[in-house]
Symmetry: C2
Subunit: 626 residues, 2 copies
């Protein structure tokens, strides 16, 4: 029996990483919000490695934090090891990564949701999205309960039509032994939404005491921890080690000999898997000449002996799994606690979304996370906060938020999704960003706090602290640019000691800092006027000055980019009427309906010639000739 | 594809309360053990109220502890409120009860299992029990993995063929959104095991902030906490309150008006529910004249706002649930986080078990917990430790452990199950025990530590501490019996002040202590020689002396009882050949095959006349005339 169980501004379907951020954003923006999960014990669950951040992903987490999201704080609160990756590769790709305590992360996130005013949490399976006259009006549970809502955010992760695959064994299931969502796919199809079928996989969890760490390389956390959240200046935790080991020829032989039983190759798995997060059988086939692959052994938490075997996700049959894992160095006697598995699930084709993450066809219906064809906790959370903000803006009748590719990795991620679509689980990578030197993890607050504040997710207090920090950075940069160091014995001794050439005329501190061999920290010795500054300020100052030239160049490129982004295309355009466009361009443009010439130019199949045609057409349209 | 994945002494199917105790017992007794769970996140899960102990149940927990089990320690480690119930009713029924933190309890139990030498933990669904020549040989997972084992303990709880029911909505599921076990029932049936279908239910979980506690009665924990485990002399925790409120006429009206939609009455629920843990609709129907029912609001943990609504379990449709809960005093604006539901599941008819919990028909196959037709965490754990011990004894070829009704509530529970069977989920109650004054919770260690030690689950160190305690008790009792208090002004003043009559001749301290108005604590004033003794010793001394008369009487009854228990019936008896037995007795005795005259006498349908016939037959058999 159907009945109305509640009236809300926003209903969020799913309390994974996307759903949590979306729900928190809406509630924090003052909207009456409800978030659903099939199982409340799985709020904020990490069904794969309990690790937050990493290359590109760490950037997303910091951007989420700068906008007022929760993921960074949750990672800080539950981290058991923290490292900055890519230290050797330069600050553009420095990436923060935390190994977290999976159980504590879930409890932390559930606690935050429970404590959030305006937010109700509800266990139940949403089976239907209610739409009237092209506008969303609510959701329905399998029990018949209808929750009316002005906006709805879909964040169903890998649950829609979930199917777990372990070798020949296949059964309906969500991740981590949860119920799958059995009905929502059909409801979305009835609404005319195009669905895709993707898959992802996870390795086995093994018992710590069955491993021989003496054969592995220990991986310790950073001595001084950089927190994820800009609200945390420092973070002190008792860190646990991870370990690095390798597959062997034997591993590869076992895999090759059992490829005829690998669901990935027998056709049992139909969903498309992530190319950049391949299973081990995939790696062994695609990189046939590689004699070994890295395997990281990472703890699932502080108070558990479960360990994650990173790099060896698989859907091979269990008997093959056992042999395969036991052939890895140090895993000779490994005791599997949970076998590896793959999961297939339904997701939407993200080309159906606007850059706001609203469905083009259904007003008030937003979508975020793995359901949009992505993979990864951080990718999910990044979309979640944007979908949440925009659902709130929609309800309030205010302008929605779109971050562009020059503002944030979040912008890159969403622009890629809604402009290019994806035919495999999409994950962020630093190589996807054109303006990497601008989109650094260290300056995410400088890029986005202002926006978070304007939207209402950054408190006055935090905003003022941020302005102070900004001023400190500017002041210090200015001071360094103004301070001239005169040549002296002391100074030149210092320079030579640091492998730097001595000076004979006065040189600005900023110039010295640009020398690769001199760090801001080292320069303290010849910089007696230096003020005492927080870690984050010093970091910023150093990068801004050291890379000033490159940064300037990228800022110029961004100006060019912005010009095309700002050439908005009216939404009534009928591309089929524009002569001169190629057939493919007409079709793609009509499908994707880009918001700007910039976006149009990134659509595959739309050529520079097509863009010229479009630009001319736009000029004419403006002149009122159309 | 089938393959052998491991060789074990004992395989335990299930890591709920029964499975955890069974697995720990086996591993601690030195056997190579593996325990399976469909989902490792649910080890030690409490799908209903996260409360351990209570009337009768508290006794079981202490007995488990005295035998070397884990439940008492887990409860102590995760308690958030502790009380002794029935304080007014005398020490026989004093019952310890702890409200625990559900999430922490699970993590604690998983940690203990992970840290236990000889024990492997494995996620997987057992689909088949392997038996050869009437002896168990192992189990098979759905992935084809075969784990050979000399003994197997079934502890599958409410997962077999699990079906969740909320009003008209029914779906396959284990408790708490877990996968059900879909195949094992068929495997058991193929082995000739008779299955039954039971059901149980749970109320909604609601958000703390939506409740009006000012309308409820607060329930605080005890000022001085008595721990569950005999290894803990004291326990200091920061306790949280619970609350008492009531249903209203309106609640009952809503329920009555919706009985036509109650699965319990429409026939949708076929499984038999627990009479002593009825759903609210059941209570409203059965006690139609009661104007209100008690409702306890109890926290699900320390760091969560989820609250349990004890007393209002239901399978009514969700719309009725909402109205019904909102009609309870203080719940007018209640926000449901998880709706109430009932679950139906397959269990075995426990008459197929020996008192050792081994299947009569299949050697090496044991069964414990909810699968045996019981309900409750403590009942499950109690059976679990016995099944575990006996699986170990079976593998070692040693004598199995059977506790009789005079030794422990565990004995009462198991004897009831295997002698009388049950046609509804069985739970322990103090009224089920004949020798309540002996089977107290305070003396569980005195009753059972010796046995736990002999079996090998109690360490030498703990045993020696226990012997010390026992000696302290005996010494103090003796001292009290010997110490004569002479009449004096001081003594008589003390007596009169405590509402007790003055003495004119010397009186032993033990005699004074027998006066109801005088406590051991109070008597300190006139007992200058009193040694400084631990809380638990003082408690024991007081009860043993105060109730000495009654205790003696029960000990005599137990002697009588033991006589019949010791009259063993050989297992080759053919009851159909014994003339003089009633037809019903013949049939029942053949089915149950009691181990002793005592057990035979408790079988319903076996009359005192039948017992006389049996006794005579036994005498003759002994004389060798048969
Ligand atoms: C086996 C496995 C392996 C993975 N491996 C990797 C990897 O190697 N690398 C990587 O980056 N990422 C990996 N991931 C992906 C990562 O877990 C997800 O990207 C991330 O969790 C997605 O977040 P989400 O918020 O979109 O969805 P989820 O975290 O899946 O959350 C979905 C939420 O929606 C709820 N829900 C779903 N349907 C309904 C409904 N109908 N009604 C009510 N509630 C509903 C669920 O209860 C849940 O709360 C893996 C995931 C799985 C399952
Ligand atoms: C909804 C609900 C309400 C309840 N209400 C009450 C109540 O009011 N009062 C009360 O006293 N008790 C109640 N109970 C009962 C109490 O929860 C159980 O009695 C107790 O948990 C049983 O413990 P157990 O160890 O037998 O099984 P469970 O705790 O259910 O554990 C079963 C274990 O077996 C595993 N398992 C099952 N099948 C397989 C398989 N094929 N392969 C591998 N692993 C398997 C599971 O993963 C799990 O680990 C309720 C239970 C439920 C679900």
């Amino acid at each position: 029996m159907e009945f109305v169980a509640g009236e809300y501004d926003v209903a969020v379907v799913g309390a994974g990483h996307a759903g949590c951020e979306a729900a928190l954003a809406c509630a924090r923006l003052g909207l009456k919000t409800i978030v659903f999960a099939i199982n409340l014990d799985s709020i904020g669950n990490m069904p794969c490695n309990p690790s937050i951040g990493g290359t590109g992903k760490g950037h997303l987490v910091r951007e989420i934090d700068a906008l007022g999201g929760e993921m960074g704080k949750a990672a800080d609160a539950t981290a058991i090891q923290v490292r900055i990756l890519n230290r050797a590769k330069g600050p553009a790709v420095y990436s923060l990564r935390a190994q977290c305590d999976r159980a504590k992360y879930k409890l932390y996130m559930k606690r935050v949701l429970e404590s959030q005013p305006n937010l109700d949490i509800r266990q139940g399976e949403v089976c239907d999205i209610l739409v009237e006259d092209g506008k969303v009006t609510g959701v329905k549970l399998t029990t018949g309960a209808i929750f009316r809502a002005k906006a709805v955010v879909l964040a169903t992760g890998t649950f829609l039509g979930g199917k777990v695959i372990i070798g020949e064994t296949v059964y309906d299931s969500g991740p981590d032994g949860m119920h799958p969502a059995k009905y929502l796919t059909e409801s979305l199809k009835r609404l005319g939404i195009e669905m895709m079928r993707f898959k992802t996989g996870t390795p086995a969890r093994v018992h710590r005491k069955s491993l021989d760490f003496s054969k592995m390389q220990i991986q310790l956390g950073d001595e001084v921890i950089t927190p994820f959240s800009f609200e945390h200046e420092t973070l002190e935790i008792d860190q646990v080690p991870c370990y690095l080991t390798y597959t062997t020829e034997e591993t590869h032989r076992i895999i090759r000999e059992n490829l005829h039983r690998a669901p990935l190759f027998t056709g049992l798995i139909q969903g498309v898997g992530p190319r950049y997060c391949p299973s081990i059988e995939d790696k062994v086939v695609r990189f046939a000449d590689k004699p070994r692959h890295q395997v990281f052994i990472e703890p699932m938490g502080r108070d558990t002996d479960e360990m994650y075997v990173q790099g060896m996700s698989t859907s091979l049959p269990e008997d093959v799994q056992i042999k395969m894992y036991r052939s890895v160095i140090g895993l000779e006697n490994v005791q599997i606690m949970r076998p590896a598995y793959a999961i297939e699930y339904d997701c939407i084709n993200p080309l159906q979304l606007e850059p706001t993450l609203q469905f083009k066809k259904i007003k008030g219906l937003f979508s975020a996370g793995q359901i949009n064809g992505t993979s990864g906790y951080e990718e999910a959370a990044a979309q979640g906060i944007i979908a949440g903000i925009n659902a709130a803006m929609y309800v309030k009748g205010k302008e929605m938020l779109v971050l562009d590719r020059s503002q944030a990795y979040i912008g890159v991620l969403i622009d890629d999704l809604v402009t290019k679509g994806t035919n495999e689980p999409y994950r962020i990578m630093t190589s996807r960003a054109e303006y990497r030197l601008i989109l650094r993890q260290d300056n995410a607050d400088l890029r986005l706090t202002e926006i978070g504040y304007r939207i209402g997710l950054i408190s006055q207090e935090r905003y003022e602290k941020f302005l102070q920090k900004k001023k400190m950075i500017e002041d210090e940069i200015e001071r360094l640019k103004k301070t001239v160091i005169a040549p002296s014995e002391k100074v030149n001794k210092f320079l030579v000691e640091h492998g730097s050439s001595p000076i004979s005329t006065g040189v600005r501190l900023s110039e010295l800092l640009k020398r690769p061999e001199l760090s801001y920290e080292a320069l303290r010795e010849i910089d007696p006027q230096r003020p005492d500054l927080p870690r984050s300020v010093k970091e910023e100052v150093e990068i801004e000055i050291k890379y000033e030239g490159y940064i300037k160049k990228q800022l110029q490129q961004i100006e060019q980019f912005k010009k095309l982004e700002n050439k908005k295309i009216p939404d009534w355009v009928d591309y089929n009427q524009i002569s001169g466009l190629s057939t493919e361009a007409k079709q793609k443009l009509s499908q994707i309906r880009p918001a700007s010439i910039g976006q149009a130019s990134r659509i595959s199949g739309v050529s520079p010639a097509d863009i010229s045609v479009l630009l001319i057409w736009l000029e004419q349209a403006k002149k009122g000739s159309k």
